[in-house]
């Protein structure tokens, strides 16, 4: 089964919650990033004008996912961009998890892009990353 995500209702009344799934850490990281990207803007309306690389390490995979999503929020504000897609590769090296990712997007342009909600951050409320067999699932609540 490929990666996917769905928005969850009534988890956070004033904010946005989603569940992301994938068959590997890389896929669940990609699904979660795509949920974040679609919360910010319709990716179909964002051209591939910029490509950024992000590298992170952590001994805890859930902490690494939290950092990854937080980094997307940071880049959005610090560089004034929204995104078309994210391609993360997650692998384990010497007992630590390593993320090498590319973020593709463009400077914010309300005339050309369908902008949605301005995500302020990732929260720890009900935050979870779990593995069931080969399937990985993350639950994330974003502060709007």
């Amino acid at each position: 089964m490929p990666f996917s995500f769905r928005f969850l209702e009534d988890v956070a009344l004033a904010d946005v919650a989603f569940e992301a799934t994938g068959d590997s850490p890389s896929e669940v990281f990609q699904a979660a990033a795509q949920a974040m990207i679609e919360t910010l803007a319709d990716p179909q309306t964002v051209v591939a004008a910029r490509c950024l690389t992000i590298t992170r390490e952590d001994e805890d995979l859930a902490a690494l996912l939290f950092d990854w999503l937080s980094e997307i929020v940071y880049v959005k504000d610090a560089q004034g961009v929204v995104f078309r897609e994210a391609v993360p590769v997650v692998r384990q090296e010497h007992g630590r998890w390593r993320l090498d990712a590319t973020l593709v997007g463009a400077p914010v342009d309300p005339a050309a892009q369908e902008l949605r909600a301005d995500v302020k951050g990732v929260t720890k409320h009900l935050y979870e990353l779990k593995q069931d067999g080969t399937r990985w699932t993350a639950r994330v609540v974003l502060d709007i």
Partner: protein, 483 residues
Amino acid sequence: MKLNTDMAVTRIADEVWEIPPSEKPGMLVPARIYATERILETMDRGVFDQVTNVACLPGIRRYALCMPDGHWGYGFPIGGVAAFDTGEGVISPGGVGYDVNCGMRLIRTDLALADVQPRLEPLMTELFRKVPAGVGSTGFVRVTRREFEDVMRKGARWCVEKGYGWHEDLARIEESGCIAGADPSKVSDHAVERGINQLGTLGSGNHYLEVQVVSSDRIFDPQVAATLGITGHDQIVVMVHCGSRGFGHQVASDYLKVFEKAMRRYGITVRDQQLACAPFRSPEGQDYFAAMNCAANSAFANRQVITHQIREAFAAVFGKSAEELGMHLVYDVAHNIAKVERYPEGELVVHRKGSTRAFGPGRPELPEIYRATGQPVICGGSMETGSYLLVGTERAMQETFGSTMHGSGRTMSRAQAKRSVRGEQLQRDMRQRGILVKAVSMSGLAEEAGFAYKNISDVVETVDRAGITKKVAELRPIGNIKG
């Protein structure tokens, strides 16, 4: 009465309900909720769970409180108030909220509805152009890193020094728009990089700029209203709701991480990760307080720059200076903040999250002009229903650490609101009802539809009858800008 909790909730006054410490292991003080029976019944389970979790935090004094606009939040409920001893107690980013010093500002004018109605369209267009909103928006003020540190230290005072405001504005802002103890060295580079280009921007979500009208028949206390510059006769006023944007959120996120580790060191356990806290007097607690004050000052500066832009927009559209249009600031209040205040118990760090300071008459913290009336309290409703101006009371000082409600409180999820109405349709419907809306995001507009919120009048009536704030005037929207 059917409540969303199994805990015992006892009525102790017409609008005050109490949950005793016996209802949850670890509660150090009772929890108190201000609500009518009807509002209490609509409160979600999170309010009861969270206000009693707060009552378990070390050093809490008197009660953990929740206002009638209360609903579930991260750690603390929105509408939550809690005061901790500065010696034995804690400070918690969850008790402040992610958007540090999210707050309300009200600007009066000498204009009447009849003056503005014919030019409402160009006015809203000019405001929409001058006050950026929505995802990734950046302000016109460009500052260097060193200048941004000055913003963190000086808040609205920095803006007035740079010409973005009037000297008289400062007296009409909580803490004169500049909270002491802000230390930029306690703020991360990430926070600075997120905030440095956002001065003078609204953001999105429930933040807005609104042009409103005050009818004479909706003034409840004409004498107090007159002192506040509110004269009625279809007077035009402008309300702003926004905070410290990405900067404040990054400060909160950074210190939640720090506190998670610090709690282990200090042997503190909490019922919810989002209640992460540290002793107020610990190095971590003091660092967060210094960083939070930087974010609070940047929020005062943000609303001050927006005020400058609003004055410029009105001057451009009406061909008169902002001074000639009588565009004085009524007041600016924070509703997400922690502050050190003195009460009979001693020096306390009062957390207000979705709650407004409501100091009563005579308090030395109030400017001379408002010392007899009590502090102005600005409560924003949904963009369809209107807002209120109130004043603080002596009773608030006695019962709620000088605190009251902040808004109407959400009752419907964003997704459900979007399913119920399309942004374009809502915009057309509101225009027909005389409210002109400009929005960056149509889906964001639908999420903020009036039916997604509690009726603000019910909430205001509750605090008015409870005596912790008194109604002064109701403000009806005619134009709204949303992110």
